[in-house]
Amino acid sequence: MLKVKNLHASVDGKKILKGINLEIGAGEVHAIMGPNGSGKSTLSNIIAGRDGYEVTAGSISYKGKDLLAMEPEERAWEGVFLAFQYPVEIAGVNNTYMLKAGVNAKRKHQGEQELDAIDFMQLVKEKAKMVELDQSFLSRGVNEGFSGGEKKRNEIFQMAVLEPSLALLDETDSGLDIDALRIVANGVNKLRREERSIVMVTHYQRLLDYIEPDFVHVLADGKILKSGDKSLALELESRGYDWVKEEEADRIKAA
């Protein structure tokens, strides 16, 4: 599904990613954890196509294609979805309209017939129910006046509607109370499919109690220092990140 090879990236000349290697197979769930400022959002943003980053080395292939050569909207049409760490408010733009435009652009790209207003409304209502999003949010401005938790729920709702093959969830669990976390996590679990890969960026083991990952990675200082299974998350929860960094330092010394 996704192959990130030796990815180096910088912003305004400052090196942020320093050789990321990551492979994500179809249907797998990966968790990426790591200290603040280590480059987790940068990686997600580069995969989704945000500009402002300079990729200085390495490559990303997605379904066998060169992802970095594609516009963000083309990536969306090919099934890439990013749930933003900080979803943007867009006053005045109808939430449902935006999604309909997105879904239909994707369908057009895939040579499918566009959905009409009635079919789309039905789809949207169904998905809203799935993530327990109140219908009143559908006709509001995109994230306009939403609380932090409502914004995160709206991101998962959008994921449900857009049906991506690769979903990057950047701290979708942050800022959620325990009930909202359960609802959002249940929503994500309902969206798990054989062919749908999910990457979750998180600081909290509690999310992984709800959504069980196949792999856990530690990203620190622009590199993936350690990968393991879900037990690694438990270890990180109790021991923090320093031991991972020390192990890395020792390894470099030995080499």
């Binding site: 196509g49 933003f84 867009i90 109808n94 435009a101 652009a105 509001r140 401005g141 857009l162």
Partner: protein, 431 residues
């Protein structure tokens, strides 16, 4: 420049006393002339384009014309009293005057000597804010207009929809008075039919609101491409009265409006909303002036412009808070979106505050579309052009949401968005 002469005004309506007022106004014009670049209030707007395009012909109201209002792009599905002016003259047959209110075309009123009331509209106060020669010319040359008095306690059941069909030189002078507790909506719609014709619309509208009266005023400028438009709206507000303006600038080659609000008694409030959509080489200029002359008055001002091509907009918002106007509550915002690198905006908030007990907020932004919003939409699959269009429309629409009459809002959205790169169906796009 030669003077306005009696020849220009002899044929205009009004008795001998009014002819004298007209002549005085003509003399004032002769003395002041057109505003020039040396005039601070006209620094960015070159009115010499008027004489360049029309010579001295702008002094003369065009010949009467016949236009069928059904051939004009008027607002559809609007339940209103329609009052039609063509080439600056009232068209009785195409109009529908409400019963039970005093409402007459100015020319008719002037021709019946009994109503010298209307003469006050012709008396010029040269010390008034933003006074200029064009206003003097309007007094000298006004051919017609609308005079209405909505008496105390009357709530007009439907809006007054005044359609000015342009492409002709017209000097139109209107007066609207609302008695205590009266309520009304006035829609002034300026529309052209011939995109190759250049003439002048010189429009002055005086409004007086008595205690607790409320007027909502839509001023919709959709003249044809080459038309020059100058306007003045002067509002005097008594105690607790409310005035809401929705000013929309879409048409014409050069359009200037001076909006002058006098909050003269305690508790009065005004809301000024403005939207400019400029393209090509359009020039749009609003100078607004709000005088807080009494305590506990409130003013809100929200102007936005979307400028494409080589269009140039000017916004000057002056707010003067008098010494005794304590507890003034005032806020002004002006946001501008430049879609092309050749589009230009000159914006200037001006606050003059003569006491300490006031709340005055103001803010100006000039910029392009927000990159984060653009990325968000694209990441949801919207093509770049569509995402840009959506954000542009949403930006403009923010000032239209306050329009309570849906038919007007839909009409303006359609007309405004049609001027911009337009890719998809608007249905459901905005909240």
């Amino acid at each position: 420049m030669s003077a306005l002469t009696l020849d220009n005004i002899a044929a205009l309506p009004g008795n001998a006393a009014l002819q004298t007022l007209r002549q005085q106004a003509a003399d004032t014009y002769t003395r002041t002339g057109l505003p020039g670049k040396r005039d601070e209030d006209w620094k960015y707007t070159d009115i010499s384009r008027l004489t360049a395009a029309l010579g001295e012909s702008w002094w003369t109201t065009s010949e009467p014309q016949t236009v069928d209002i059904n051939d004009v792009a008027a607002i559809e599905d609007l339940d209103a009293y329609r009052l039609v002016f063509v080439a600056g003259r009232f068209q009785a047959k195409q109009s529908n005057i409400p019963a039970g209110v005093q409402l007459l075309p100015l020319a008719e009123l002037l021709n019946s000597d009994a109503h010298e009331d209307a003469h006050c509209l012709f008396k010029l106060d040269e010390s008034a804010p933003l006074f200029n020669g064009l206003l003097a010319a309007n007094s000298a040359l006004a051919s017609d207009g609308l005079c209405a008095c909505i008496r105390e306690g009357i709530k007009l059941d439907k809006p007054l929809y005044v359609v000015h069909v342009g492409n002709s030189t017209a000097h139109v002078l209107s007066g609207l008075m609302l008695g205590a507790n009266a309520e009304a909506t006035l829609i002034e719609h300026f529309v052209g039919t011939d995109s190759s014709a250049a003439s002048l619309s010189n429009i002055a509208t005086y409004v007086r609101l008595q205690d607790n009266a409320s007027l909502t005023h839509y001023r919709l400028q959709l003249e044809s491409d080459k038309q020059l438009h100058v306007g003045r709206v002067e509002v005097k507000q008594a105690r607790d009265s409310r005035y809401t303006l929705h000013a929309v600038e879409l048409g014409g080659s050069l359009s200037r409006a001076d909006i002058i609000i006098n909050l003269s008694e305690p508790g009065a409030s005004c809301d000024l909303n403005g939207l400019f959509v400029g393209s090509g080489r359009q020039h749009i200029d609003h100078h607004t002036r709000i005088d807080h002359n009494a305590p506990h008055c409130r003013s809100r001002e929200n102007y936005r412009s979307v400028l494409d091509g080589r269009s140039h907009a000017v916004f000057n918002g002056k707010i003067v808070v008098a010494e005794g106007a304590i507890k003034t509550d005032s806020a002004q915002s002006n946001a501008n979106l430049l879609l092309s690198k050749n589009a230009e905006i000159d914006t200037k908030p001006e606050l003059e505050i003569y006491n300490d007990d006031v709340k005055c907020a103001h803010g100006v932004t000039v910029g392009q579309l927000d990159k984060n919003q653009l990325f968000y939409l694209k990441s949801r699959g919207l093509p770049e052009d569509e995402a840009r269009q959506l954000l542009t429309f949403a930006f403009a629409d923010e000032v239209l949401v306050g329009m309570k009459i849906k038919a007007v809002r839909r009409f303006i959205e359609k007309e405004a968005f049609a001027k911009l790169p337009n890719l998809s169906d608007l249905e459901g796009m905005l909240t």
